[in-house]
Each structure stands twice: as C-alpha cells, then as structure tokens.
Symmetry: C2
Subunit: 194 residues, 2 copies
C-alpha cells in the first residue's frame, strides 16, 4: 500500500513493514482529476502532500486572473505551501493537478503523531526539506544566471520527457516568460537545427 511513498522513505531512513503500517494509518489519500485543486489561494494549508502518481503544479494568481506557476511536483515529490502550513495562515499559493493524480496527504496533526511514533521520520522530513531548499537555491541561481532563452534551452535538454508531458503555456509560465515569446524561441530553435 502506498508503495511509492514507502519505497521513497526507505531510500533515506529504515522503516519496517510494521512501521510502514503505522504510518499509513495517518495518511489521507486524495484522488484528483486533471485540473482539480488540492489547495486554493486563501485557504489554510492543512497538510504536506506526496505525489504517489500523476503530477501537480503550484501557482499564484497574478493580476487579471493570470496564473503563474512556481513549482511542479511529480511522482516521488512532496509539495505544500510551507509558509501557510507552518504558520496556519491563509495560503498565498494554489496547488492543482495537471494530470489525473493520486496524492497522499499528511495533515499537520498527523505529522506530530507520526514524529512521536516514528522518530526516524523527523530525519526523513529534514532531508526532504533540505532537498527542497537546495533545489530552490539552485533554481534561483539559474534564474539570475541565464536569459529566458538559455533557461528554456537548458530546461529542455535537462528534462526532455517532461517538456512533452505538459502544455507549452504551463512551461512558459514556469520559466517566467510569456507563451508568445516561448513560441518564438521554439521557432528560432527549430530553424537552427535544420
């Protein structure tokens, strides 16, 4: 049960089958259809979410109802509005599925119980948070280092399959540029190859 999650945890800390059972009791599974919301801006974020299957994206509402993506979360990634979750204040981000997904929620109250019962998970989540922090340090660097065009090219070569998996307007939003301009870059890129 929840095999991806258990396997993922075991990459970082020991967890017996029995302990895995103890953890699963606290998990609240959520099935999401494409475009369904997991968290809306303004709600108080109740949980940390693990993507067991499918894919989520995090966004915020810019002016004129334009949504800007800030993160993706694929199978094996945790995601949440950590500011909202930690302080129990209204979320400034929304989270939704860009594919049909199975998400495992670990609610804030459940987190405390889990840490009490399975102390090694404190370590596991420390490592997850550290990984997320590190990823953002790297990401910020990329944003500052490259022009939009370089960002696109390097993203494309680093995650070629992922680029196929999501629509272009989402990719544009994630990379911080307009769909129109991304289209232009793609054209420029393809003429260069031929």
């Amino acid at each position: 049960m929840y095999s991806h999650l258990i396997k993922h945890i075991r990459n970082y800390v020991p967890l017996s089958d029995e302990q895995a059972e103890m953890l699963c009791v606290h998990i609240r599974p959520i099935e999401l259809k494409k475009k369904e919301h997991l968290l809306q801006e303004g709600e108080i974020c109740r949980a940390n979410y693990f993507v067991e299957q499918g894919g989520l994206c995090m966004y915020f509402n810019h002016e004129k109802g334009v949504e800007k993506l800030t993160q993706f979360a694929m199978e094996g990634w945790w995601i949440s509005d950590y500011m909202s979750m930690a302080l129990q204040k209204p979320a400034t981000f929304g989270i939704k599925a860009f594919e049909d997904s199975l998400v495992l929620a670990l609610d804030v109250e459940a987190q405390e119980k889990v840490y009490a019962e399975l102390p090694q998970l404190e370590r596991y989540f420390r490592l997850m948070m550290q990984r997320g922090y590190a990823a953002h340090q790297t990401r910020l660097r990329y944003i500052r280092e490259r022009t939009a065009e370089e960002t696109y090219l390097s993203f494309r070569s680093q995650f070629p399959d992922f680029v196929q998996r999501i629509p272009q307007y989402m990719l544009a939003s994630y990379l911080g540029l307009t769909p129109e301009y991304l289209s232009e870059l793609r054209k420029k890129d393809s003429t260069r190859i031929s």
Copy 2:
C-alpha cells in the same frame, strides 16, 4: 557561550544547559573580517553555518567576474550551500562576510554525532530547513510577481534598516538588477516624495 544559537534553538525545541554544553563541543567557531570568505566556489562545503554576530552573503560568479548575490544571512540565520553539503560535491556558491562576523560551523560529521546525542535537534533542523524552503517559495513568488522597481520599493519598506546596513551595489545584486538601474530607481523614488 554561543548564547544566540542556544537561545535560537530553545525557541523551537527544549534544550537543557547540560545538553547545550554537549552541543557546543561540536561547534567550530569562526571569526571573519569584512569581505573574508567562509566558502569559495569549487570547494566542498563542510558545514552548516550559523551567524552568531555580523552578516554573511551568498553569491555566485557570473561571467566577467561579476558576483551575483542570492541570499543574505544575518544574526540568527543558518546558511550553507545545501546541495554541496548534502552531496559532498564542489560548491557552486561562495559565502563571505559583509561585516566583521562570528560564525558557528557545524561540520557534517559533527551533525551526525549531534543528531545521535540530541535527537530533538533533528526536529530543530527540520524546522530550519522548512523555514528556508518556505522563504524561497515566497521569494520566487515576489520575483515573478513584481517588476524591479516594485521589488525595490517593497524590499525597502519591509527592511528599511537593512537597506542602510549594506552598500547599494550589494542590494542591487541581491534584487537582481544593475547598480546603475537601482541608482535610477532611487532618483525617481526621491523626486516622487518631494
């Protein structure tokens, strides 16, 4: 001893005086003069660093030897190149003092010992990493949400004292714009007031 650090930890987890002693044994204090380096790009990052006094900044080397700042760390903040520290790969960031500082290093080997002796610190660092992660989520949002001018104005109103504490070229670099353009914004801003 290391009173800021101990006090900081006690905001998050219990720590007896005796336990504080046990922790301090593993701390490696480092005094830095203004502009001295704590970590150079290319080195392997050995530790997580706590700013007991003074202030540090994190940067990377862009082309033409231009340094771009990505983070500051003031008293009471932990900082490190977490990618380099976790994977023990060469750092892609540098860290240096922008004021005379007292820094407390917790080396990677020491971290493991500390977690074994004082399990509550696993929780403390989980919370610290989560805080850092959350701060970066928010930061990325600000970058995407605002123009350079808005970024400057909001930063100035949020941290007025900090703006006084650092030279303008550092602030410009941190905000992701050129010193020349920041100068222009400042002028525009001041004429608007008068």
